[in-house]
Symmetry: C2
Subunit: 315 residues, 2 copies
């Protein structure tokens, strides 16, 4: 019998979620950033409170599933103002209550909406319209202040970086920018026509970033809490990962804007500003990987592998 | 009530699995590749049989889980000869039978091995040794024939492409090449030291490609069937996604080389050669996306978004 040490890949590579949880739990002690390689947890623990921005509760969508699990989506109205407005209206009017997760396709997307959308039993979409001018990308001049340019080669775009806390990309010839399809990004399902996505059917990326979808759909936000409850759903066995049988679908109990919830039950998050002095230290930590476990430092990072830290706000 | 058409993102973006299933099921009819944009399914359906290579059953690892689901891993002995030899020995000696999936970390890895590896109750590793010279990368001169160079910018490597059916990358200064951490890639868990990964504990990537792990661990293969049974496992709630309680772990019934199975129950796969004439058509299909649903053609593809088709062999 061998008493072999447990092999763990990347003992330092604490998942972002775990890292944020730790950081959020860390008391206000001072951790000295001595030595060549502070960990991400350490970097966040000593970041000044002013490097963090509270999230507007009207930009937080709280989805409660029939199994009681909760998913929180951070909306990006600056990148898709009309579509996000539709989504806020749909949430306010309780459109998704009683609807379901209809699709789970491996290494692609999980999607939710009205299983009867195509039939006469479709639920009313209330005061929103069935079509909407698409917001696949935006002029670089609109809301482009605050774009943090990442020093990284990218297969799909001239420039990648971060736009108000979201991974983003730019086309320098066409002067357009957009939010990229990274893991956890939430987008708007649509049909063949550009205006057929009004926000009533949403999806989230559950695998390797399908960047070819960039500029083909409107990205409206990203999951910042509870992603694991969507990514671990059984894959649908119908075409495109749609669930074949109604009983396979997980029902949605409710979807609410945090601003519509009683203050006591609102999830209150803050995010590390990508314009803060702490953020370059986060990037350096990802690029250099000078921790004990890493024997080869990548000296690079791609736009979808950069942690964009969120944490619960302290009272 | 609106009879709204079901919004589906990327109706053409049939999952690779679905695509392969279709292609495998397609009768030997001739599908005319007329028009500007044959689908991936059409491309594969008309590919000549000589473009496909049967997989050596000694390179196929068949893992049967306690819930009866089966996962098939395609091993890459050319990229990690000694580590794959260890794994073949471990499978032959039934090392993993009765062990378990110990870890499921969201957007990172699922890992399996001996939950008691660190304790005196550790299962014997039989005739393999606890340490092994690492095979994180290989000289470009060894086995480099057959490297298909992909025209794509990459955040991490000078050159990316495909090496005997696997996504791979090259360092042109150091003349090294290695298999990349794409979704589904299978690697060898290790401790702090380079030689501590002997193949007894394995992991598979279940999210956005963690390319920073490239050259830090030995990649030994990839999942070609049944990935959805690993990716949909509940996430572990312990540090790094390890399951906290023994009862949360899914047991492994058996892991066998296909070559050790009776011929009648061997899964028989073939793969589209990345050196075939069909493969550039696959790449073009991914780059151009001139199908009806796509309104913006990416005109690019990253190394982890290229389908590397596998299918069951016809009898």
């Amino acid at each position: 019998m061998k008493d072999l040490p447990m092999k763990r890949i990347a003992s330092l590579l604490v998942a972002l979620a775990a890292c944020i949880a730790l950081a959020a739990k860390a008391p206000n002690k001072t951790v000295a950033l001595t030595g060549p390689a502070p960990s991400l947890t350490e970097i966040l623990a000593v970041s000044p409170a002013t490097d963090w921005e509270p999230l507007d509760p009207s930009q937080l969508l709280v989805m409660t599933l029939a199994n009681s699990h909760q998913v929180v989506i951070y909306l990006a109205p600056f990148a898709a103002p009309n579509t996000v407005a539709n989504i806020q209206t749909l949430a306010h009017e309780k459109y998704w209550d009683g609807l379901a997760i209809v699709r789970s396709q491996d290494n692609y997307v999980v999607q939710w909406g009205d299983p009867n959308a195509e039939s006469p039993q479709a639920k009313s979409i209330g005061s929103v319209k069935p079509t909407l001018v698409p917001e696949f990308d935006m002029p670089m001049t609109t809301g482009s202040a605050g774009f943090f340019k990442l020093r990284a080669r990218d297969a799909y775009a001239d420039v990648v970086g971060f736009w108000k806390g979201f991974a983003a990309a730019r086309d320098l010839k066409q002067h357009r920018q957009w939010l990229t399809h990274c893991y956890g990004a939430v987008g708007v399902g649509r049909g063949e026509t550009a205006d057929s996505g009004n926000g009533q059917e949403l999806y989230v990326v559950n695998g390797h970033s399908p960047r070819h979808l960039d500029r083909n759909v409107t990205i409206v936000g990203k999951v910042i809490s509870g992603m694991e409850f969507l990514s671990s759903l059984p894959r649908g066995t119908g075409p495109l990962g749609f669930y074949k049988k109604p009983e396979e679908r997980l029902s949605i109990t409710s979807v609410r804007l945090a601003s519509d919830l009683p203050e006591a039950s609102r999830p209150a998050f803050e995010r590390l500003s990508t314009m803060s002095k702490t953020f370059p230290a986060v990037l350096k930590n990802r690029r250099m990987r000078r921790d004990g476990w890493f024997l080869h430092s990548p000296q690079a990072v791609d736009v979808c592998n950069v942690p964009l830290p969120f944490r619960l706000r302290k009272n």
